[in-house]
């Protein structure tokens, strides 16, 4: 097990280095940051001075080395646009994305799993067909379109809910949260709904497939033969068995949504990470782009690592194979 761990840690580190090179070179190809940093009518002297100060006159490999050196010291650089340390910027945006993501994924699970289980339990009922129709639509309709419709329906026509922003926030331990105020909740509902529709469709499908398979299995047949009611069979036995893939998907979706709520956040002007990355791509804010992508890559590598290790701990065959 120790050998396996060491091997995986080394692999993850190697992957991280490769990704940092890819990200740095890739972002390097986007636009010319000088145009962002100085006014177009600046003199040649100011221009050259700025180029030198930011190290843009050095070769790419040297810029990369400088970047890695300061990264190891915990310094992600300063944002060109906001003129503050990138790490602080990202951390200040994280809570907004976190609460949006949690609301969306938890909501999708609470609604989607029971619906999917019902559709798997009675696959031919009309209700089940309606549920599956809902899930096909949830898969097909692009996120930005859901957002537009919700804004048009609930914000413009009915005027019930706000169309954008985060509402009032309350500071808890120095972090601003909007789930603690009524205004915050009213701002959260529409973006969370937008973000959750696709996840709900996914949960419905997973739960339905698991349920259908489980209902045909031997253990369900024996449990029924024992005289247990269907309710007891489903909640006592089936739920435990189908929850393993559901939990896996829940975790992966949570991470994916956290890393990428860009579309939803853009439409609803939700001041989270997704909006930050889109803004930084449009304003050529290189340090923010690089830091954000590196952090996302780190997050995903850690999750993959954790999954690998968990599987290895549970299943000796995985250890033997690699």
């Amino acid at each position: 097990m120790l050998g396996f761990l060491i091997q995986r840690v080394l692999q993850a580190a190697a992957v991280m280095v490769i990704i940092s090179v890819l990200v740095f070179v890739g972002v390097f190809a986007i636009g010319n940051p000088i145009d962002v940093l100085i006014a177009p009518d600046a003199t040649q002297d100011i221009r050259l001075d700025t180029i030198r100060r930011y190290g843009f006159d050095q070769p790419l490999w040297k810029q990369y080395l400088n970047f890695v050196t300061s990264l190891v010291q915990g310094n992600f650089g300063r944002s060109f646009v906001f003129n503050m340390p990138v790490l602080d910027l990202i951390l200040s945006r994280l809570p907004a994305t976190l609460e949006l993501t949690l609301a969306a994924v938890i909501g999708a699970t609470i609604v989607g799993v029971p619906l999917g289980m019902y559709a798997g339990y009675r696959p031919h009922a009309i209700t089940s067909r309606a549920i599956m129709g809902l899930s096909v639509i949830g898969f097909s309709v692009p996120t930005f379109w859901v957002g537009l419709l919700l804004i048009m329906g609930f914000a413009v026509e009915l005027g019930w809910l706000p169309a954008g922003g985060r509402g009032d926030t309350v500071a808890v331990l120095g972090v601003q949260w909007s789930v603690l105020t009524l205004s915050g909740w009213s701002h959260l509902v529409l973006p969370a709904l937008t973000l959750s529709l696709f996840r709900m469709a996914l949960m419905i499908r997973m739960a339905r497939a698991g349920m259908r398979e489980a209902m045909l299995s031997d253990y369900v047949r024996f449990a029924r033969a024992q005289g247990l009611s269907d309710t007891k069979v489903i909640f006592g036995h089936v739920l435990k068995n189908i929850s393993i893939p559901l939990v896996t998907v829940f975790g992966l979706e949570l991470a994916a949504t956290l890393a990428f709520a860009v579309v939803t956040e853009t439409i609803f002007s939700w001041p989270g990470l997704g909006k930050l990355i889109i803004d930084s791509i449009q304003s050529l804010d290189r340090p923010v782009m690089v830091a954000y992508l590196m952090l996302v890559a780190f997050l995903f590598i850690m999750i993959n690592f954790a999954v690998d290790v968990a599987y290895a701990a549970l299943d000796p065959r995985v250890r033997g194979r690699s």
Partner: protein
């Protein structure tokens, strides 16, 4: 196991036709693709010819008769484009990009996956590790970053879509090819003097097709949706050639003032196309899935 005498393709088609919803969806796809290809025949205006756009006719509601002397069936957008024409031309771009990206990703990903499965050892580990790594990232994030790097344009967008989608084909092809590789007919073929390339492409590849076709139908719909999303975010196509996503994005700001048609109609067209493709792909998946075969 009826209709054993008919060719597999005909059997596939007649089974497909039994599902009326899927058949209907398929005909919707055919109609939309046909209308998109023949767009110039059905539209009163070339929406990409800036010289013909009349700003005085901008943001008119559906049914308005413009200075060109024809009815704007679905109204006009902020630049005075006839929306019906713009939607058909936009569908043209969507279909073109979706099909091209899907086909290239199919070939590249399929080839990588099969080669990895057949080569084994280091090459397989290298290719599949990379593919797995890529699959663990959200597709849309990759597409977003790549298209930001490459800039706007049709082929840049296609490259971004291929680069973020080929991995699904590689994963599927690899899985199928590994299973085929272990079968006896491959062993038999390898024991003859056939070159390994012939065995891979003539014998293994055709047997990996069913799952790849399923992935392809899903990925074409995804490519169209991704293209619209990227264009909506302003990273897809140039402003002079508005695709559906960009038409929707441009109309967004007018929606709050009640001019709903600029966003709504392109959106309906987009969703009809994606929904129809997904319904077709659901049926194809059920038919090609050996576990559901009776």
């Amino acid at each position: 196991m009826t209709r054993r005498d008919a060719s597999p393709f005909i059997r596939f088609c007649s089974e497909f036709a039994e599902n009326r919803l899927a058949l209907f969806a398929f005909s919707v796809v055919v109609i939309i693709v046909g209308a998109a290809i023949l767009a110039p025949l059905f539209t009163p205006q070339d929406p990409y010819d800036i010289g013909k756009l009349i700003l005085g006719d901008a943001r008119r509601p559906p049914g308005y008769v413009g200075r060109g002397g024809y009815v704007h069936l679905l109204g006009t957008d902020a630049q005075g484009r006839d929306l019906w024409s713009a939607i058909l031309y936009g569908l043209r771009i969507s279909v073109q990009i979706g099909l091209t990206a899907g086909a290239v990703a199919f070939v590249v990903g399929g080839a990588l996956g099969v080669v990895a499965a057949f080569a084994g050892g280091r090459i397989e580990a290298l290719i599949m590790r990379f593919v797995d790594l890529q699959l663990s990232f959200p597709t849309i994030l990759l597409a977003l970053v790549i298209s930001a790097i490459l800039g706007q344009g049709k082929w840049q967008l296609t490259v971004a879509l291929v680069a973020s989608q080929y991995a699904y084909f590689a994963r599927t092809a690899h899985g199928a090819a590994v299973a085929e590789r272990a079968k006896e007919y491959v062993e038999a073929a390898l024991s003859t003097p056939l070159s390994s390339g012939v065995v891979v492409f003539r014998h293994i590849l055709p047997n990996c097709m069913p799952p790849l076709i399923v992935v392809a139908t899903v990925q074409i719909a995804n490519a169209i949706s991704l293209e619209a999303t990227l264009s909506f975010l302003g990273l897809g196509l140039p402003v002079t050639h508005p695709s559906l996503g960009m038409l929707i994005a441009n109309g967004f700001q007018y929606m709050l003032s009640g001019r709903y048609w600029i966003s709504i109609y392109p959106g309906i067209a987009l969703i009809m196309l994606i929904l129809a493709i997904n319904l077709v792909s659901d049926q194809v998946r059920d038919q090609l899935n050996p576990r559901l075969q009776r």
